[in-house]
Symmetry: C2
Subunit: 223 residues, 2 copies
């Protein structure tokens, strides 16, 4: 896939704007686990995913994490270029969760075009609004869903993303996705195991009853 | 104050765009407690506050609330016109927390201008990003601050907004701001009272030691 076909508003750019992006664009292949962007330390640029998976998360002063959202093929990561919008007053970290091919659009070039072009500015709007919506969804989960439901949902999602029922995940890594301490994860996973939904071994969570996990996602009430 | 002086990008509009807004704009005075916008039921329009105070909150299926942010003089409420941006996939409720004078810009007129005008689209971007930042701040509080710290902070904020140390607030209303059940609020307020920070009576929380409340805000660790 060419950049032209992956960047949603390409056809609405002027020739000069197209050239400005093409001249500044670069392509990167990053290995799973690479940190692509780290908070306010840098204004990395916009990341357009050709193929792969990125994870955006935040970090507390005490080192606790929570995953905000994940970005898939053809998604655009804008918060890694948060310097282009003054009112973005928070920092995220972006990590490759799989080996990923992506394009990086430098912040200055994008910002310059966004200032001139209503289509690019409106596209940017939609991207921010989409991430905002994901964070709102997450907040509602944290506020109003019980932890068993969130954990069940996470295991099912991960199993679908990795296309396997045998998940290589430590309890700490799961806690980092969900924003909970490791001990809380361990306690709930042991309960899931006692109910026959998973089988636990060192660094592995094997899903043994998908239906039952799914029923937890749907029936869970408020916490 | 005229609308022209309150609307930030007025000078960047064309004459036709100015006329389009002027012809569609209307002014409203709403009493404290008025619900101005309720979720996806309506696309109310953009609300520009001339003078007053609005509160934006979300509601769970079980009827629990949490305040997302408040809007002050000259702030623009955009999520009450969420139909103008397709990717906004969540519903908020907007309520007047004080008697409020405001202008309503109908959604269609604004959307039409935003599609043509890079300055308006970029201004819209900044507004969404500012609200997104407030929600991110709130999420970090919920995840990583203890409830005593959040409650102390809320009481101090409310005291500053209402310019009094005697707050007319039920425990339920406080719970609705902070996203916690009433019993949790009552328990913590009784602890604050036993520590001499507040005095409680029916429907009233009187702040008796601001310094001590403030120290709770600053020293509170992760939950």
């Amino acid at each position: 896939m060419d950049f032209e076909n992956c960047f949603p508003v390409w056809k609405k750019l002027t020739d000069a704007q197209k050239k400005r992006i093409k001249d500044n664009l670069y392509q990167r292949h990053v290995a799973k686990g690479t940190i692509l962007h780290h908070g306010s330390m840098d204004c990395t640029g916009l990341l357009l995913i050709q193929k792969g998976l990125l994870r955006a998360y935040i970090l507390s002063d005490q080192g606790r994490e929570i995953t905000l959202y994940r970005l898939f093929d053809l998604d655009l990561c804008l918060l890694s270029a948060s310097c282009i919008i003054r009112s973005i007053q928070f920092d995220i970290i972006v990590e490759a969760q799989k080996d990923t091919d992506l394009w990086i659009i430098p912040s200055e070039a994008y910002q310059e075009i966004m200032a001139q072009s209503a289509p690019v500015a409106n596209f940017t709007n939609e991207v921010i609004a989409a991430r905002f919506s994901e964070v709102m969804w997450l907040m509602e989960q944290i506020l109003w869903k019980s932890f068993d439901s969130r954990l069940a949902q996470f295991l099912l999602e991960e199993s679908s993303l990795e296309e396997t029922d045998t998940l290589k995940l430590t309890h700490e890594a799961i806690g980092n996705h969900l924003g909970n301490p490791r001990e809380v994860v361990t306690r709930m996973l042991r309960y899931f195991q006692s109910e026959g939904m998973v089988r636990l071994s060192r660094g592995i969570v094997e899903i043994t009853d998908k239906e039952k996990l799914l029923s937890l996602v749907h029936t869970a009430g408020s916490r």
